[in-house]
Symmetry: C2
Subunit: 395 residues, 2 copies
């Protein structure tokens, strides 16, 4: 199970909530295991997980009739399903159905509500004696104002829960960490394969194609692939173009795929030929900043202290004018989880957090340099998810 039950319940209690409702793809999959295709590739389709606090009701998936096959075919950890909408599937009377087809048949046979909202209203009505204050993830809803005025839910106080779900997801379970380790390795391998195409005249687009194809070969999906050459590498979100690689150019990767719904976000720098003294000096400072941060990571460390030390290291080691709002963030089923490693962050590191620790540097007219590693906060310190070091690569 991806979900951390204990943390779900303690965060719900801390916010004084009787129930939470997951509505975004990330939160639906995280809390139930249910991956409802259409909401992952569009805005609009509604899939929910209704999560009453212990003793206040029954956990349920609210699923569209058009997506019940996925419920039958996936590893789901919520037993009860409420369905809505209209959909037709036939059954071959002459075939013995396998387990998945039988499960589909049972799901299609359930009574259905007309819409997701009616289904949700019915659940809230059913538990109305116990449910007064409900956190609802506002980012997956269509017609959010209507939801807050559901018939039967007039007495419920709704609280936006996008940030509350981020709090729950901030520490990772071991199954989550395994996926993150895998996607980190897939991404490192893809960077290394992509760098094999490096030669004068190759385009950013060609290198990105090699990176994305290797991501797919590794079993992941391309998501983030900021790949820039030369002065274009200074663009923080550089999108691969027809710009060509020249001798001495920086090649900046800030990239990561999605594997079993979990994200990577890693940065590595290569240079075609000999790096200049400035590139060497600056990159070394950025790399030492990350290394110093990795050394001090342990549960209980304030994110702001980690930020200050990393920043001070980069400044002392070679980029005295280095400025950043943060030096990293959590990662999981979302690419930007808690904690945030910034000066003003109130976050404190906890066991099981997975962090992207990063020191990007962008200088227009020169280029961009960046080290970004993925690590797990363990009781003994940082456990790296990387196979490679963030050292400057010469190709």
């Amino acid at each position: 199970m991806l979900l951390n039950e204990t943390r779900l319940n303690s965060v719900m209690a801390a916010h004084g909530l009787d129930a939470l409702i997951a509505t975004s793809p990330e939160n639906v999959t995280y809390t139930s295991g249910y991956w409802a295709l259409s909401q992952w590739i569009r805005r609009g389709p509604q899939s929910y997980v209704y999560l009453p606090a212990p003793g206040k009701g029954t956990r349920r998936i609210v699923a569209s009739a058009t997506l019940l096959d996925l419920l039958a075919d996936q590893d789901i950890n919520v037993a009860d399903v409420t369905t809505f909408g209209s959909f037709f599937v036939d059954t071959d009377p002459d075939s013995a159905l396998n387990r998945c087809d039988q499960r589909q048949t049972d799901l299609y046979a359930q009574d259905r509500y007309e819409s997701a909202k009616e289904a949700l209203a019915a659940l809230l009505r059913q538990d109305q004696a116990a449910i007064r204050r409900v956190g609802i993830d506002e980012t997956g809803l269509v017609g959010s104002l209507e939801v807050f005025q559901l018939p039967g839910a007039e007495n419920i106080e709704f609280v936006p829960a996008f940030e509350i779900f981020r709090e729950i997801r901030a520490t990772k379970t071991e199954p989550e960490i395994e996926r993150l380790r895998r996607v980190a390795h897939i991404t490192e391998d893809a960077i290394s394969v992509a760098l094999r195409v490096a030669k004068p005249g190759v385009t950013e687009r060609e290198m990105a194609e090699a990176f994305n194809i290797e991501t797919i070969r590794g079993g992941a999906l391309p998501v983030l692939y900021c790949i820039g050459f030369g002065s274009r590498s200074a663009m923080p979100n550089v999108q691969p173009s027809d710009a060509t690689l020249r001798e001495g150019d920086i090649i900046r990767f800030d990239a990561g795929g999605r594997y079993q719904h979990y994200r990577a976000d890693i940065a590595r720098i290569a240079v075609l030929g000999e790096p200049s003294d400035k590139v060497r000096k600056y990159h070394r400072a950025l790399h030492l900043g990350v290394a110093k941060g990795l050394e001090m990571i342990r549960p209980g460390l304030k994110a702001s202290d980690l930020y200050e030390t990393v920043m001070a290291t980069v400044r002392a080691e070679g980029i005295p004018h280095y400025k950043r709002t943060h030096v990293g963030h959590g990662i999981g089923i979302d690419g930007y989880d808690l904690p945030i490693l910034s000066a003003s962050s109130g976050d404190v590191l906890e066991e099981g957090m997975v962090l992207c620790l990063e020191t990007p540097y962008y200088e227009l007219g020169f280029g961009g340099l960046q080290v970004e590693d993925m690590i797990v906060v363990r009781n003994g310190g940082a456990e790296t998810l990387m196979k490679t070091s963030g050292e400057l690569i010469s190709v």
Copy 2:
């Protein structure tokens, strides 16, 4: 420009709106050309396009400081930008900046608001004499309730606009149609390349890998790849598994990538070896259903009439028990645009609509068959975006 200005203004007027606010990735890119990476790969990041009705204010992009490089590097059709948030980029004092870097420098130098919401509130305050009723796409917002209570916006009536934007996007401009044609062809090519791996023992996952790699080689991104073998092809949203292909198996593709943000959604059926009589007969009926629909398409046709004719054809031609809620939908920057081709649809076909016309049939224990073509509604009738026919493929 992707946006249809005339339609934007007429739909806004029809809904009595003084302004529209795009907040979802699809609507931000559609109305401005601005592709703001982070909102495309996560829920949470805020990017808006503020679109006052003619004469009521100035159109503006509301952009995070972390994404200004993309604004500088892309083909944007909104001149004015309001920025928010904190971000640091250095400039090499010894380099002459190119045009893109100079544009970035100018954008970074603008005064910034602290948050997206403060930026939006400022725009609404500025135009408050003319702006009373505002449509806001609710699907891209975090903390939607706060937005509806923005300081300075207390007198504004907010209307959820997710559906209003769908109405605007329902007919396509020629630049949109060109992208849709390209992604349709990329998807057809990828199906044909993927089918080359078909042989006994190959897994759904291996065929999906071939499909997705060819999608990337074509310049698109993998998004939808429902690929199922044998009885698994009956799952409407079948996700590639380790199930292996056997002689006589149906191979169902319901698939499409994303090219320059525009989506494909195409279905083709192949069989390994000789199709059974039932497969031949049913597939022929589904294919004739689509063919009949294509023949009658013209501006002014009621979507519900198209639905009835397609359904009647499939039933008459070989599947008398055929049931469906719809026989297709629009497609564009979103995978499921208006119109909807159903019995209860009030939609009427218009010139420039791009449709997925489809006749899927799912029978548990047997398999799934489906024909789905992408076409443009032209004054002279349907113009196909397909290079291949939807005929049954034997491999």
